[in-house]
């Protein structure tokens, strides 16, 4: 059933008892042409675009938990394409373009809200770096505006412009950046994929990847062996140990990133604002909660929880920006496990094993990338070669030195 205000009203008369399930709960078949491992945002988007753009419908997504149980449901919901490195900017801009038409495309309101992303800077050197990035964005056809201190003050009136330890000197604004209701992205892609015949297999954990003569032939799961000609891995923080089932070793460390939400209050912040003298980002959701986060805890972790030192640091930065939020209470904190790559940029590529494809290394950037990641991964799987947009996200770039290191932080994943 197509979602619309008319279907909503029609269903109101029947007490909403006639809505069909958003997706089926099929039993696994013995064989699929293609299997995507990971029913998070990227895996579901990949399935959706494989079905929609490439006609691949003999397709299953296998997910060890529930759909969207990965980082797509535990992030700070920010979308943007304000990247510096050419390999990133084009890709993330394509992602933003897909976001802009996504809801109409998959007929699900994900509340894509282009409220603007403002990256603050606090020194002349940061202003120059922001200008460099803004100019790179403009060369890529991406919107970017360099704001001075007064423009920032007018735009975000609650910002502390007087007493901060590192005073705000201005900001780089991407007006088209914003936020998206994160769960809805998973659900929208899942429903869209399901409607095109994709089997979404929940509570189906991959325990092995079967390879014969250098070719993938299927996956072992907790619901039995499922054969396949092609297998795409989209396992985020769990990429290393899933890839290890096929004998691959990755340039990935898994780290925990915490995020926070405050009690809901009437509107106090219209944009997404990021701090420049540390790592902090905040926006206010449509429900009224302030959603914010900061740095990784810093150590490798597969546990979806963090510790107090980072909680303190994150909140300190929050009140550096907005001292009026001091009395606001946070209600929830959670942790996601991040696939931090060695240069801070993702990998969407083939692997040395025929028919096995890899999508990982999203660091904190995974959510905003969801549409383009799925789109490019679908292309890469369908055509057995990368699309122009993900051509830079190669697995062998570390061997050649073609690293894509936005921050220049080097091979220290917890600094990206």
């Amino acid at each position: 059933m197509r979602y619309s205000v008319f279907s909503l009203i029609r269903n109101a008369f029947s007490g909403h008892t006639d809505w069909p399930a958003a997706w089926r709960e099929p039993e696994p078949r013995a064989y699929y042409d293609t299997i995507i491992v990971g029913g998070g945002g990227h895996g579901l988007a990949t399935a959706y675009y494989l079905a929609k753009e490439h006609g691949v419908t003999d397709l299953a997504v296998v997910e060890k938990g529930y759909l969207g149980s990965g980082n797509v449901g535990r992030n700070t919901t920010i979308i943007r394409s304000n990247y510096l490195m050419p390999a990133n900017t084009g890709f993330y801009e394509w992602s933003l373009k897909l976001w802009e038409g996504l809801e109409q495309d998959f007929n699900f309101n994900a509340m894509v809200s282009q409220r603007g992303v403002l990256n603050l800077f606090h020194s002349d050197a940061q202003r120059d770096a922001s200008a460099r990035r803004g100019n790179a964005m403009r060369l890529n056809g991406v919107d970017a505006e360099l704001l001075d201190r007064e423009q920032v003050r007018r735009m975000v009136p609650l910002l502390d412009m007087e007493n901060a330890r590192f005073p705000v000197k201005g900001g780089l604004l991407q007006p088209r950046g914003g936020t998206v209701r994160h769960d809805a992205v998973a659900w929208g892609y899942a429903r869209g994929a399901d409607q095109r015949g994709v089997d979404l297999l929940q509570n189906c954990e991959v325990t092995g990847i079967r390879v014969q003569d250098g070719r993938v032939v299927g996956v072992e799961t907790t619901r039995g062996f499922i054969g396949a000609r092609r297998v795409g891995l989209a396992c985020a923080g769990h990429s290393s140990h899933v890839a290890a089932m096929a004998g691959l070793r990755l340039p990935i460390e898994t780290h925990v990133l915490q995020a926070f939400v405050s009690e809901g209050v009437k509107p106090v912040l219209d944009q997404v604002v990021t701090y420049g003298a540390g790592h902090f980002y905040i926006s206010q959701s449509d429900k009224g909660g302030l959603v914010f986060g900061g740095d990784l805890d810093g150590y490798n972790s597969y546990a979806q929880r963090g510790n107090m030192p980072v909680v303190e640091e994150v909140m300190e930065m929050g009140l550096q920006l907005f001292p009026a939020f001091s009395r606001l209470r946070y209600v929830r904190q959670w942790g996601g496990v991040m696939d931090m790559s060695m240069d801070g940029s993702p990998i969407i590529d083939r692997t040395p094993i025929a028919g096995l494809y890899l999508n990982c290394g999203w660091c904190y950037g995974g959510f905003k990338a969801t549409p383009a990641s799925g789109w490019c991964f679908a292309w890469t799987i369908a055509k057995d070669e990368p699309h122009r947009l993900n051509a830079g996200f190669r697995l062998d770039r570390f061997a050649t030195g073609h690293v894509i290191d936005e921050k220049g932080a080097g091979t220290t994943p917890n600094l990206h």
Binding site: H238, S240, H241, R249, L250, P251, I252, E253, T254, G298, Y299, N300, S301, Y302, A303, N307, P309, M342, F398, A399, T411, T412, P413, N414
Partner: protein
């Protein structure tokens, strides 16, 4: 997290700097390019027990090899890296 530093006793993890898997052997200067790329860029990234480098940067400044379970955060052992490399603690 509390990390039992062999020199300073049990301290909070905010005093420590984390630096990835404890790979002790740096390849020889003339080792293959693959060996070097592997050393610098590739990680086992264990899900469960693993060894990692941490420096007690706000304490004795010793570089430590911390064996820790990445699923539970349980600390299994801590030893100075120098001792592990035969350099004497």
């Amino acid at each position: 997290m509390r990390i039992p530093c062999p020199y300073c006793g049990e301290r909070g993890n905010e005093e420590f700097l984390y630096l990835g898997s404890a790979v002790l052997e740096r390849p020889a200067p003339d080792a293959s390019a693959e060996a070097w790329v592997d050393y610098v860029h590739m990680r086992d990234n264990p899900r469960g027990p693993g060894a990692e480098f941490m420096q007690h940067v706000q304490g004795c400044r010793a570089w430590l090899i911390v064996r820790r379970d990445t699923l539970t955060h349980a600390i299994l052992s801590v030893a100075p890296a120098r001792a592990a490399r035969g350099g004497g603690a």
